[in-house]
């Protein structure tokens, strides 16, 4: 299967070089071909599932807990300004 690696890389926000693009194209194709083997399994009568843990209805009560301080929240940020994260202008 032919894959538009550039498009996939853009969606994943990953910068890739020309060589990487070539390499990834064949690798991703191989992965897809491999996964495609699943199509040969007969799944008639098998219920569709997106989870296999068997868990259901894991929820929490609407109660507040303590938060990080502003200083802690910003401690990993490259750039900050007045208690806010700072990034290059977008839009």
């Amino acid at each position: 299967m032919k894959i538009n690696v550039k498009h996939v890389a853009k969606l994943a926000n990953l910068p890739i070089s020309k060589e990487e693009e070539k390499k990834l194209e064949s690798q991703l194709s191989e992965i897809l071909d491999y996964v495609e083997k699943l199509n040969s399994v007969i799944t008639k009568g098998v219920e569709i599932t997106s989870q296999i843990t068997g868990l259901e209805n894991v929820v929490r009560e609407d109660k507040t807990e303590s938060c990080l301080t502003q200083k802690e929240a910003l401690s990993n940020a490259k750039n900050t300004h007045d208690g806010l994260y700072k990034v290059k202008k977008i839009l």
């Binding site: 259901e56 929820v59 609407d62 910003l74 700072k86 990034v87």
Partner: protein, 435 residues
């Protein structure tokens, strides 16, 4: 040529805590980045756990909008990169939302179909500013992870007036349920219309999404502008491009923001951190019972059972506190011969603050200030007849538009009846007899 408009409305829920963590959901006016934790900052290894109340409120809104509630539902990841979304994905719902296929009826009888009502999380807030000499975007993540319900309609609208009415009705229902303040100016309720124009009645090949609408008035203006803009393009035999535009209130027009990504570009997949939700019929029945009587039922009841004017019924039921106060007052009033209509009149015209007075006190006030309910209509009619007969000059003055004579005639009628009564009834009777 026919406008085709569908709506996506986001409503922020007023739960105590956020959607997937225990941080306070109340972010308005708070110091930036003080309501965050590893979950809503999207730090590695954090585990989101859904807020039970938020989910229940989402289902209750779905029920109030006549939706079907599937017994199983799940969350999905919607992947995209933007600085206000720290995880690189938003937890939302894709193919198994909590509520499906509902409807909302407008006053003109038109039914707007609701495609789905689903649960997701809000993003952080971006502030665009200049710091030093640099143009930057500043991020406050207090809003990140606040519960958000999205209500999506089918493209059933063809004009901005219906859109406005739908929004007002939706806001009223949300407020009746007390699940959000739904204040558009504050961003509790946000509207994104999808607008296109059909040449032949079939669904057009493109649609334009409009953002940045934060009042009912802007909604009307932005939609009207966008319809006009697209008509111009179509007149030149071109097709408007599919894109996202923003309403610019200063320029009074919509401005291009970005070309719209296809849905598949979000690469939705099931959220592996959150197990599916399954309801029992009994639980859903329980939610249904928690839904108060909704405005359109109240209007019908007030009009048909309490026999009050439909315009008054609509006004009395505008908000649930006033409606409930009205109902209690009517109940007490029925024991004192005070009609529902006079309660409505008093509530609507005398500026009663329902939080400063009890229904019983209001009935006392109504009885002491007007004997409207106890005076026989025929007595008023006879008195007015007599006064008009005995004052032909005043009657003539009134007929030629000298309105000050009205006061004179009211005084005469009062003297005739010898009891204190609501002047409005006398005015109505005079108008009737002099028509």
């Amino acid at each position: 040529m026919k406008s085709v408009i569908g709506l996506e409305v986001h409503v922020e829920l007023k739960t105590k805590s956020k959607m997937f963590c225990g941080c306070p959901a109340d972010y308005f006016g708070k110091k930036p980045n003080t309501h965050t934790c590893p979950v809503c900052l999207g730090l590695p290894g954090a585990l989101p756990v859904p807020n039970k109340t938020a989910i229940q409120w989402c289902v209750m809104l779905g029920l109030a909008l006549n939706c079907k509630i599937p017994l199983t539902s799940k969350f999905d990841r919607k992947n995209y990169f933007y600085p206000d979304l720290p995880k690189g994905y938003q937890i939302s719902q894709y193919d198994e939302p909590f509520c499906l296929k509902g409807s909302l009826k407008l006053d003109n009888g038109k039914v707007i179909k609701i495609r789905r009502v689903h649960m997701e999380e809000d993003t952080g807030k971006l502030i665009h500013a200049t710091v030093g000499n640099e143009d930057v975007s500043l991020i406050d993540l207090n809003r990140s992870g606040v519960p958000l319900v999205e209500i999506v309609t089918e493209p059933d609208f063809d004009n901005s007036k219906d859109v406005k009415e739908y929004l007002q009705k939706l806001q009223q229902i949300v407020r009746y349920l007390a699940i959000s303040d739904a204040d558009m100016e504050k961003g509790d309720m946000r509207l994104e219309p999808n607008i296109s124009i059909s040449k032949d009645g079939s669904l057009p090949s493109y649609k334009v999404e409009v953002k940045n609408i934060n009042s009912f008035r802007f909604a009307e203006k932005a939609i009207d502008y966008e319809i006009k803009r697209q008509l111009e393009i179509l007149k030149n035999n071109e097709t408007p491009i599919q894109e996202t535009r923003g309403w610019d209130e200063k320029k009074q027009k919509t401005v291009s923001q970005r070309t719209k990504e296809e849905a598949s570009d979000y690469r939705y997949f099931p959220e592996p951190d959150i197990p599916p939700i399954r309801w029992t019929q009994k639980q859903l029945e329980g939610f249904r019972k928690q839904i108060p009587e909704l405005p359109h039922f109240k209007v019908q009841k007030y009009e048909n059972e309490l026999k009050i004017k439909v315009s008054d019924a609509i006004r009395v039921s505008e908000n649930i506190e006033v409606a409930q106060f009205f109902e209690k007052t009517v109940k007490i009033g029925s024991k004192h011969n005070v009609s529902p209509q006079s309660v409505a009149n008093f509530l609507l015209n005398k500026g009663v603050n329902t939080s400063n007075i009890t229904p019983a006190e209001l009935i006392k006030t109504i009885i002491s200030t007007s004997t409207y309910a106890t005076i026989d209509n025929s007595k008023i009619k006879k008195a007015v007849e007599k006064v008009l007969r005995e004052n032909p000059k005043a009657l003539n003055d009134l007929r030629v538009g000298k309105t000050q004579t009205l006061q004179f005639l009211i005084g005469k009628t009062m003297a005739e009846i010898k009891e204190k009564i609501d002047t409005k009834i006398i005015i109505e009777e005079i108008n009737r007899q002099t028509k």
